[in-house]
Amino acid sequence: MLNDFISQVGPSTVGGLASGAIYALIALGYTMVYGVLRLINFAHSEIFMIGSFAALFVIMQMGITEPLTGVALVGTLLLLLIASMAASGGAAVVLERVAYRPLRKRGASRLAALISAIGASIFLQELFALVIIPEVFDRPSQGRNQVPVPRLFDRETVFSVGNTDIRNDHLLIIGAAVIMMILLDVFVNRTRIGRGVRATSQDPETAVLMGVNIDSIVRTTFLVGGAMAGVAALLYTMEFENLRFNIGFLLGVKAFTAAVLGGIGNLRGALLGGLALGLIENWGSIFFGSEWKDVIAFTVLVLVLLFRPTGILGESLQRARA
């Protein structure tokens, strides 16, 4: 058992950090919307899915079939990043306008918004399964099957630590996630709009009295959260190279868990929760087998919530710290 752990801990850590980085980026969307509206946006998983298909769409339009290198690779990745962030961010804004704002204007209960979120989620999944995958991606009557993505660059080992090979794709995922987190942190804490977001999160009524435009803040929150899901979507598409209409579901559940684990409403908590969840899953698998990884992850979640009901870092977006 101990031998297993020693021989597997290195690769598990790298794999766990890479999956955790993707969880964390998606978790940001849940946590930001919750921080501002006290709403769990269950359609966020489909925002992620839309971003991944947008990336694939651009890859197909560019006619990429062979792995790229050098400048072409960097340029392509940046273009794909813009495309998937725009698609996910845009979709999140539309979702807010169509599924949430009408309810908010009528003062509907949060439960109504939750049902609206679930409805939007099912609608978007079926839209892709029935229309977009068969028509736009030209896979007639295969809307529910996986769609392969061509390889963007060859996997290479950049360096090794002991028996652990650190690959270029893992470095890219972890690096991109950390950079996005830092940018977001600066945005929320150092900019005027960021201050508006924090003010709305603390006390919406007072924020309005102070001249904050709530609608615009909510829209910004959805846009930024969606764009982060778009980053995750590109990284996912690049790493796993298979898309399906329901890929968002499982990842959405994991990311939501990560957000709660870190402290929902807290941006740094989302990063911490995501990475922690990825590591717990992979380390737990060493001892118990991969079929137990969800059991282990949720056991840890329950234990954390027993002792810290607001998550590891607490709900601090409202206290203007994150």
Binding site: G16, N145, N242
Partner: protein, 394 residues
């Protein structure tokens, strides 16, 4: 008072319906075959399977194989014609029962090819048994089906108890494996097959390690880490081609070079698409089915050409078995048997070289030749290497 009248009315109505029903049964005293204009008798043979449901990709090829056999028969036979009636169960065992009752009472079929899956076979078996109608399934592989003591039930594929050990034995022999890693998807079919393979490996003295993956998941890095640490000679996956494609890709990216193998759930070109051409290369797949996949063996090529000319595509999974199942019935009819019981007697003694294998049934309805075929991905295509006794890995 009102309710009494209503009840009385109900009884009268029910009684009338009963009498009318009996009368209908009495008058419909028809022979099994119907005479048509030019003096030839037309017999109906059913085909039952999932023709429009989620797994119809598995059932359309055998239905076309069976149709091909019927068309060939009708082209040469003069005194007896055969009509193939399709029954779409959508893979639903309850719907299969309704369809079987219709086939027996309304259409009066003399024989049935199918049902396609094991669940529907379990439900339909007793109905056919009572009506004394012989059936041959081209694809139902649950071992327990043969234990029902059914006299009219047969199948032309080996059951699941044969597949796992045969594939394991083949890998041990072909790769002189000392260490194996068995992964499965924790579902009924995949875990069952994984267990059977792991058991046989251990019986042959091969050290086995195991792990399970979530068939709906995408990130299999923890499994890849385990496989890499175990450094096995062979890897077997119990499950379907979609998760295997994802796993295979991640295994190869993770630097695992051991041969990867799987069972009949993965014999599909979509495996290559999902894993990517490079990662899928050399994967070994076992199946009780014989899919020609562009083979140049003369009989298979002849079959593929005929099939392609008629349906515009290559024969895929269970097409040859569907053809052989139908041919068994047609041989019986050609020998002058026109009633279901006579046909059943005839096929219990049948022994001919079918396209997929030698067709001869054991008394319990199992095919005598329990053959497992080996396929390998070569240059992005699934190719047939032969049965476990002939196949050579390259």
């Amino acid at each position: 008072m009102r309710s009494t009248i209503a009840r009385l009315g109900g009884v009268v109505a029910a009684g009338t319906a009963l009498v009318l029903g009996l009368a209908a049964c009495g008058t419909e005293e028809s022979p099994t075959g119907a005479q048509n204009g030019d003096g030839a008798t037309t017999l109906k043979i059913g085909f039952m399977g999932d023709l429009t449901g989620a797994n119809s990709a598995l059932m359309i090829p055998p239905s076309q194989g069976a149709q091909l056999a019927v068309d060939e028969f009708n082209a040469k036979s003069t005194n007896v014609k055969v009509e193939m009636v399709k029954y779409d169960s959508q893979g639903n065992p309850d719907q299969a029962v309704t369809q079987a009752q219709k086939a027996v009472t309304e259409d009066k079929i003399v024989a049935l090819v199918g049902p396609g899956f094991s669940g529907e076979s379990r439900n339909v078996g007793p109905i056919l048994e009572q009506a004394k109608i012989p059936s041959i399934s081209a694809s139902a592989t649950n071992p327990a089906l043969a234990d029902n003591g059914w006299k009219f039930w047969h199948r032309v594929v080996a059951n699941d108890d044969v597949q796992g050990p045969a594939v394991a034995d083949f890998l041990v022999q072909a790769k002189s494996a000392k260490k194996a890693f068995v992964v499965d998807d924790a579902q009924e079919y995949g875990a069952g097959l994984g267990d059977a393979v792991a058991k046989e490996f251990e019986a042959k003295g091969v050290k086995v390690e195991r792990d399970k993956i979530d068939p709906e998941g995408s990130d299999y890095s923890s499994t890849v880490t385990k496989v890499k640490a175990a450094s096995p000679d062979v890897i077997f996956f119990g499950g379907y081609y979609a998760p295997l494609g994802r796993l295979l890709k991640q295994l190869r990216d993770g630097g695992v070079t051991a041969v990867v193998s799987s069972g009949d759930g993965s014999v599909d070109k979509a495996l290559v698409e999902g894993a990517g051409k490079a990662a899928a290369e050399d994967a070994v797949l076992g199946c009780p089915c014989l899919i020609p996949f562009g083979s140049d063996v003369p009989e298979l090529k002849a079959f593929s050409d005929k099939y392609k000319a008629k349906f515009g595509g290559d024969p895929l999974i269970y097409a040859t078995e569907g053809y052989d199942a139908m041919t068994s019935f047609l041989n019986a009819i050609e020998a002058g048997n026109t009633t279901s019981e006579k046909i059943n007697e005839y096929i219990s003694t049948i022994d001919f070289k079918g396209v997929s294998k030698q067709i001869k049934f054991n008394p319990n309805g199992e095919i005598a030749a329990s053959v497992i075929h080996i396929y390998q991905v070569k240059d992005g295509n699934v190719t047939w290497l032969g049965d476990t006794s002939q196949a050579q890995l390259s």
